[in-house]
Symmetry: C2
Subunit: 349 residues, 2 copies
């Protein structure tokens, strides 16, 4: 073992080291696509599961057992730390995070206090420890995660999911100092949350800036990237792979890498060769099968999996994944087949 | 006058000819941002307005009178021809098009018959004639429009707006022949609708492929572009500018141009210089201010308007627009100021 990782194709690929096969995991692999997940979760809400370390660890492990993926990702939610801190976030099934009193004024800043990780997110850290205990014998590393400041802020300001992010953009432009204080506070929370997850045992982290793709490059650089760079830079001493993920972020890939990523997530809109040319060398790429394609007939899925791997061949570090989370209606058998295809792939160059 | 256009900065810019100033119009300029629109529309539903030529013409003219934009766009909806043909489309306020019985099987193809424009969309064509009568003395051209086959098909298949377009993608991959027949039939309807609008007086057209950005380049080229090319190519003999528009289509810009566009819409995610390098010369660009930015303080809006114009300088034909439709909560005064700024802009090279 070198660092946390030699022997793990996932960690090696993140670092751009040679791998025996392309490693693969799926965003939302711990989720509603699995019958055992639905059975374990029952009717409880997601925060209930996050508050129960045994359940969260079990949900984390299920897709590793079933699919043989090369990494586990902690079962959690990007709004979990704020919800656990009592900021007034609910996670509504089928809708996502809802903030009954959206953040709009300077007074709302007072609702955010510094994270005391060992207190505030204790159940999450316990879930990390429990999951590691079962993952270690399998040789499968655990990915911790947090929401990026822009995306978390967008939920706080909009009050929930949005199509236009108008309130968020208005706030950043009309009150730039307030905006900066907001994303700064969220950066500190995400950084503290991620460092605590790594201390508890996470061997890589993914920073989810799921909705950054709504920003043009100028707004991204001015109003989102600095706070994300604070999170990613604050993890540099830990030596673990830092994955930086967004959707519809084709124009932002170079900036997302420059923010301090070891791995950049690429969605299906951008061919991996194009992504490589934008990002430059020295950063691994993660992606990029369209999650909706997983619902297509198997021969089509196989052909597209092969296409992703062909595109990635010779480009340097690559972690196979979807371009966004597994859709709940996905047949888990398809995901298992994808893992098999990725592992068996041989490039005919 | 040469063709339909000399003397119109909008038409000239579309053709890449020299213009005295950058022309500007706004997608959804005829819409809820205007109090006179809300007054004229009342509580009626949008199809009611589309069925009433006098009202549709009035709504088309309102933003021209108020803002002094360089083009009018017909008040209509991309689902209008199907709704008027009785295909079972409703347009639900705040939600968008809803198809109670989504298209999923070969039997659903029978629900689409060829368009008989002078019968099926007679009120729309009458609105074109009425609008032209008032626009001509102002020297302002009228843009007709239609939905592109992929985007219209996505509503028919999903039954309404979607975030993932999973059902649409599954259909195109599991039943490619059925998909091709569906988008082929929709291409014929859109082409017939646009030709009829031009015959009635429209001096340019915009083909809205609003949701094409959900497709990767391979799927776009195989499953969307051929049908759009059939529409755009079928208009070539008319000599009018054909604008090809989508959102989040940064990776598709070259293909959208190659499909037969004279002008390609660019959203705020892609800098115009980058768009030009992807599209190549000989096609004009339209865009690309973020609609949410119109809600920002005026000095920020002015700076961003200037940035768009700076980006466009020296790149060839440019029509100023937003990257998507005007948001309903936009202050119409801001739009008027944008028109003034665009018209007064002088490049300091």
């Amino acid at each position: 073992m070198r660092d946390h990782g030699t022997g793990s194709p996932f960690l090696d690929a993140c670092h751009g080291r040679p791998v025996p096969f392309t490693p693969v995991w799926f965003m939302r692999q711990a989720g509603r696509s699995l019958p055992e997940y639905r059975a374990a979760r029952g009717d409880g809400d997601i925060l209930e599961a996050i508050r129960c370390p045994e359940l969260a660890a079990e949900l984390t492990l299920q897709p590793v057992r079933r699919h043989g993926v090369d990494a586990a990702i902690l079962f959690s939610d990007i709004m979990a730390p704020l919800a656990l801190m009592g900021v007034g976030v609910e996670i509504v099934p089928g809708r996502g995070p809802v903030v009954a009193e959206p953040f709009r004024t300077k007074a709302d800043l007072a609702r955010l206090r510094p994270l005391e990780a060992e207190v505030d997110v204790a159940p999450v850290l316990e879930a990390v420890r429990l999951a590691r205990r079962e993952l270690d014998p399998m040789g499968v590393p655990l990915i911790g995660f947090a929401g990026a400041p822009f995306t978390v802020a967008s939920y706080l300001v909009e009050g929930g999911p949005s199509r236009t992010y108008a309130a968020t953009k208005v706030l950043m432009h009309s009150e730039p100092a307030l905006w900066e204080a907001l994303v700064g506070a969220l950066a500190d929370i995400s950084l503290g949350f991620l460092r605590a997850q790594v201390t508890a045992g996470a061997q890589a982290v993914q920073l989810f800036d799921s909705w950054a793709g709504t920003l043009g490059t100028e707004d991204y650089r001015t109003h989102a990237m600095p706070a994300s760079a604070r999170v990613l830079g604050g993890l540099a001493d830990l030596g673990i792979p830092r994955i930086h993920f967004g959707v519809g972020t084709g124009e932002l890939l170079a900036d997302m890498a420059a923010a301090g990523a070891d791995v950049v997530g690429v969605d299906w809109r951008v061919q991996l060769g194009v992504a490589r040319s934008r990002v430059g060398p020295g950063v691994a790429l993660q992606g990029n099968l369209d999650p909706a394609l997983c619902l297509a007939p198997l021969p089509v899925v196989e052909q597209r999996v092969r296409k992703v791997l062909d595109d990635a061949a010779g480009l340097g570090g690559h972690v196979f994944n979807l371009g966004h989370g597994v859709l709940p209606e996905t047949d888990p058998g398809t995901l298992t087949r994808i893992v098999e295809w990725v592992h068996a792939y041989q490039h005919r160059g």
